[in-house]
């Protein structure tokens, strides 16, 4: 492994293998603190509000929402596309960065994948309640039925969506669980409680870390990453087909698949930053999820954000260049019509504000990055709102034109699903190792070979890390250490 001395180390401070285990397993074994309880209870209450609103919708029907004959898709599908998009960052970190051998992913992949799974769960909820009769959801699945030879219409993008989202969810869950098995075994061997030993042992599937099984594990991870990489690109492409295969101006564009995928990764990284900047602080994981990690993720967010900005420009250009008056009208109406405010929120949050990421100060200051990520989250939600509502509300026939106002039930569902997402995330960081312990250990020596850390990483190391460093904590790095120190002098 060749390592540039100019790269920041992945783990700040000296760590032994057992110290890594303890730092991460501590949160699983210990009792949650007051901060965890406050966060969890607030999230659970917000979730309860969302559940009540959903139950009300199911009893009353879709009439509980502000939809009308012109605008049949609004908040609900906006939320659906938003949450599917959030999931994409997790798969990018866990699969695509594995294929690219990006070692920094080891500190963030577990929580990002968890976020993916929870986000897809949130997303899946929306088409379900939008059906109006959610108990008939199995009509979307190819199950033998009593209607003779009538099956689903596989030519419809909505049908493709069913398969894409459920495949995405299943594969992400399997990938996540696969990586969790060794760490569950670590918790099983660490915990002293009987219930914990049984439960973690049950889900650890009898893992012992045999060399042959590790060899298979690595191959399986690599192949799963290879399968998940095109999968994640296909999912948001197919979501975009829901719009692009229609004949509605503003939706009917070939740019949609890449535009949606870039937007998905953009919003997903914003959400990863939102969660991890808080989690690293609350769980004292700053040595593992370092400022370097935040910096890299901010750069990816920036790159995808620029692609999104380019797509906004391309859309406008193509509307003008196509010479199609309907297309031209829709885009002028988007920016300067009655929903123009939402368009400008989108542009400011997604294109203008993220330009601050060019400054290193912003990339390496957690609170600045956190505020920025919130703006991107808001902006990306509005992007979907703009695409869906402004395209629908004025179509070819002016007598069809209408306005859409969400009801308080729709607001409650929007906010409530955030509650569901955060509740699941709080449960995850309490009951499961939030960082992939085994994977982190496997990159530990790659990243710290007796180098002056301050000289390398440019920011000072917290003093508590230095004091706790004992000589026996320093791992023996093998002959490479000697070779490298010779090179240094």
């Amino acid at each position: 492994m060749i390592e540039s001395p100019f790269r920041e180390p992945l783990i700040i401070g000296r760590r032994s293998y057992s110290r890594i285990t303890d730092d991460i397993v501590r949160h699983v074994l210990g009792k949650p603190g007051a901060k965890w309880w406050i966060g969890f209870i607030i999230s659970a209450l917000v979730m309860t509000m969302g559940i009540l609103a959903i139950v009300y919708t199911i009893f009353v029907g879709i009439g509980a929402w502000g939809l009308n004959r012109t605008i049949g898709w609004a908040f609900d599908i906006t939320n659906f596309v938003f949450w599917v998009g959030i999931g994409h960052a997790g798969t990018l970190i866990s699969a695509i960065l594995l294929l690219f051998r990006q070692h920094w992913r080891t500190a963030v992949n577990r929580s990002a994948e968890a976020m993916t799974i929870f986000a897809v769960m949130c997303a899946g909820l929306f088409p379900l309640i939008h059906m109006g009769r959610p108990w008939n959801f199995f009509w979307t699945l190819p199950v033998p039925n009593d209607l003779g030879p009538l099956w689903q219409n596989y030519v419809s993008p909505l049908m493709w969506d069913v398969f894409a989202i459920s495949t995405y969810f299943t594969v992400s869950l399997v990938f996540w669980y696969m990586g969790l098995i060794p760490d569950l075994a670590t918790v099983r061997d660490k915990t002293t409680s009987k219930i914990g030993k049984f439960l973690y042992g049950f889900f650890a599937l009898g893992w012992t870390g045999r060399a042959k099984v590790w060899q298979r594990f690595e191959t399986v991870s690599l192949i799963l990453a290879g399968l998940a990489t095109p999968l994640v690109l296909s999912v948001h492409s197919i979501v975009s087909f829901d719009f692009a295969t229609s004949v509605l101006p503003g939706w009917h564009t070939t740019i949609f698949p890449p535009y949606f995928v870039a937007g998905a990764i953009f919003s997903g990284f914003a959400m990863v930053l939102t969660l991890l900047i808080i989690a690293r602080k609350a769980m004292n994981l700053e040595s593992y999820i370092t400022l370097g990690h935040l910096d890299v993720m901010a750069r990816i967010m920036m790159a995808t954000g620029l692609m999104v900005g380019l797509a906004y420009g391309t859309e406008f250009f193509m509307a003008w260049y196509s010479g199609n008056p309907y297309e031209q009208y829709v885009f002028l109406n988007r920016a300067f019509g009655p929903y123009g405010w939402s368009y400008w929120i989108m542009v400011s949050c997604n294109v203008l504000i993220p330009q601050l990421v060019w400054f290193k100060k912003v990339r390496t200051t957690p609170w600045m990055l956190w505020i920025l990520s919130i703006f991107v989250n808001i902006g990306m939600w509005f992007e979907r709102f703009v695409i869906i509502v402004t395209s629908l509300h004025r179509d070819f026939l002016p007598s069809n034109w209408a306005m859409y106002t969400p009801t308080y039930i729709e607001w409650a569902i929007l906010v409530g699903v955030f509650g569901l997402f955060f509740t699941l995330f709080f449960l995850f960081i309490k009951f499961l190792p939030a960082i992939a312990i085994a994977e982190l250990k496997s990159v530990m020596k790659v990243t710290q070979r007796g180098k002056p850390l301050e000289a390398v990483c440019g920011h000072t190391i917290p003093s508590d890390v230095e004091e706790e460093c004992r000589p026996e904590d320093i791992p023996w790095a093998g002959p490479e250490q000697l070779v490298e120190s010779v090179h240094h002098h």
Binding site: S16, Y154, V171, D189, L205, G209, A211, I223, S442
Partner: protein, 204 residues
């Protein structure tokens, strides 16, 4: 009863007297494995808390064939997608959509892809879990309580030469601990209702 127990053990478990050698670092482990290979030790297994690169080569393991399983199940998914879409939308209930030809193959591409990926992932992971005897409720034999934390364990076939092995390891490798134990590894797919940790050298 005792005879039956012995018979079951023999049927479902591979058991052998073994020497447990514990190391506290992965580089020491790899160094020790090199010495063991030169001394022609029969290494039964190596347990590590994380994938240590190069161990599989030192043990002479061949590359895993799980990729073939993924390919097989992927093809199965591809054929399933074809059967599902073509049969239901062509002979069963042909629908004229915009006068497009039947079967509408280009529109089937997304499902061909999704089902191939789904089958390949699930099938490969199932084969991996079954082949490695990783099943819910399995109770593994724990050779060292910190083998999933920071200790690296080598299980060597004893062959009634414990003292020789011990001396060799202490002289040539940076071993932390050497002791006698029983190597127990399931060889059947059924999850065994016995606690593998209760097996002692008397059961051999």
């Amino acid at each position: 009863m005792e005879a039956l127990k012995q018979k079951l053990f023999r049927k479902f478990l591979r058991m052998a007297p073994c020497v447990v050698a514990v190391y506290d670092d992965d580089d020491k482990l790899k160094d020790a494995l090199r010495h063991m290979r030169e001394a022609n030790f029969e290494v039964l297994d190596v347990l590590t808390p994380f994938p240590v690169h190069g161990v599989d080569k030192l043990l002479g393991y061949r590359h895993t064939k799980l990729g073939y399983a993924a390919f097989f199940f992927g093809m199965l998914g591809f054929l399933t997608a074809g059967a599902l879409q073509i049969i239901t939308m062509w002979p069963y209930w042909p629908v004229n959509i915009g006068g497009k030809p039947l079967p509408p193959l280009p529109a089937f591409v997304p499902l061909f892809f999704e089902l191939s990926v789904l089958f390949a992932s699930l099938g490969m992971v199932a084969v991996y879990l079954l082949r490695s005897y990783l099943l819910p409720g399995m109770s593994p034999r724990i050779y060292h309580p910190r083998a999933t934390d920071d200790r690296f364990v080598v299980l060597i076939h004893e062959g009634a030469m414990f003292d020789d092995i011990k001396r060799f390891l202490e002289e040539n490798t940076k071993v932390e601990e050497v002791r006698q134990d029983v190597y127990v590894q399931p060889k059947g797919l059924l999850p065994l209702p016995i606690d593998l940790n209760k097996i002692s050298r008397d059961d051999l």
